[in-house]
Point group: C2
DNA sequence: CTAAATCTAACGAACGTTCGTTAGTTATAC
DNA sequence: GTATAACTAACGAACGTTCGTTAGATTTAG
């Protein structure tokens, strides 16, 4: 299907140059067609963008949901650190998470509302799952905390900072250092009385 | 000085729409002149952008340096939390930090190299100062840690995540919650044995 | 089985608009 | 009276988009 090739090229250039900086002719050239031909598959630039966005959202969400459904809920140290590894993997394997991150925080102005809705949706779901996991661990006295929301938000903060480090450069060493540092302090912070 | 007005308008639109999405006519209109008149003050779009960038960098750096020069180095809990408050203040008072954040992570492709150099410079300096502060606190046995780099990187991670929260929405409540959660876990993580 | 109709995917050409930029001219300020 | 900073006018290039058309495959009808 040619549509998928176009979406793939769109994902690439939207990620690198942003919505305004990516041009249809550039995207078409990548696929080997003229920019007018894109209109046989999409209504226009906005349509292409929004389809790429929804694909990225779905991929991101389903990867995370799948991970959460697989963990055993008895070993928070392994499960939480594994989630950070998952995020790093997703980021490096496919471009969708990078695209998603960029558009979450710096959306094209005229689509900001539509994008915000999707972002809120995914954020809400992930937070809800994490919070219930933390609650389980608190009940099982595996970690020490009064309210589940505190470690949840702190952990999501680490996820964000790791993603920023991923988008920043490709300083593999610095990423590893930062992950280790954040994780060490975080884990000590929620597991020690 | 009209140049400053132009830079101020440039800062605004570069921050909202990014380099490619901001147009000189838009910027000129904000100031009340025609876009061609910008060329009496700047060589072109790149020149304007880079001057805005350097102003933002300088403002960001000097605010942070000033803060570090004022703290007494005996009370890390107050000093570190105060730094997070400073970042939030800077972000909400002037647009420069938001601009700086956007361009650090999603620079226009043809200026990426020049921008990266500035970003690396400021990052390096802040990290060096923080690391030496942490070393002082470790030596004074106010915090518990072996190497200063670990709490430094973990703290910088919190700074990043707070900035992302600031750029995201203006959910004041969520920002407060996240700050409190990250800080609680972090402080417990570096102060408890 | 063949002929007509429909669908798919691409094309060149052109649309109106906006972009950043340059040149030459006029007004303002010291 | 000279510089500075604004203006008008115009530039080539690129943008997203629409148009009419073509070539080939697939489906439908007689």
């Amino acid at each position: 299907m040619k549509s998928n090739e176009i979406k793939k090229a769109g994902l690439k250039y939207f990620t690198i140059h942003g919505y305004e900086g990516a041009s249809l002719s550039q995207i078409a050239e990548e696929v080997g067609i003229k920019k007018q031909s894109i209109y046989a598959h999409f209504k226009g630039k906005d349509d292409l963008f929004l389809q790429v966005l929804r694909d990225a959202k779905e991929a991101d969400l389903s990867s995370k949901l799948e991970y959460f459904s697989k963990i055993d809920s008895r070993n928070p140290e392994k499960d939480l650190y594994g989630f950070l590894q998952l995020v790093i993997d997703l980021f490096q394997k496919n471009e969708q998470l990078k695209f998603w991150l960029r558009m979450s925080f710096f959306p094209p102005a005229h689509l900001a509302e539509a994008i915000d809705k999707e972002v809120f949706d995914i954020e809400e779901k992930v937070q809800a799952i994490l919070e219930s996991k933390f609650q389980d661990w608190i009940d099982a006295k595996v970690i020490v905390e009064e309210v589940a929301k505190t470690p949840t938000l702190a952990f999501l903060g680490i996820v964000d900072s790791i993603m920023l480090e991923l988008v920043y450069g490709n300083d593999e060493k610095r990423l590893k250092d930062k992950l280790e540092a954040s994780w060490t302090v975080f884990w000590r912070g929620i597991s020690h009385p």
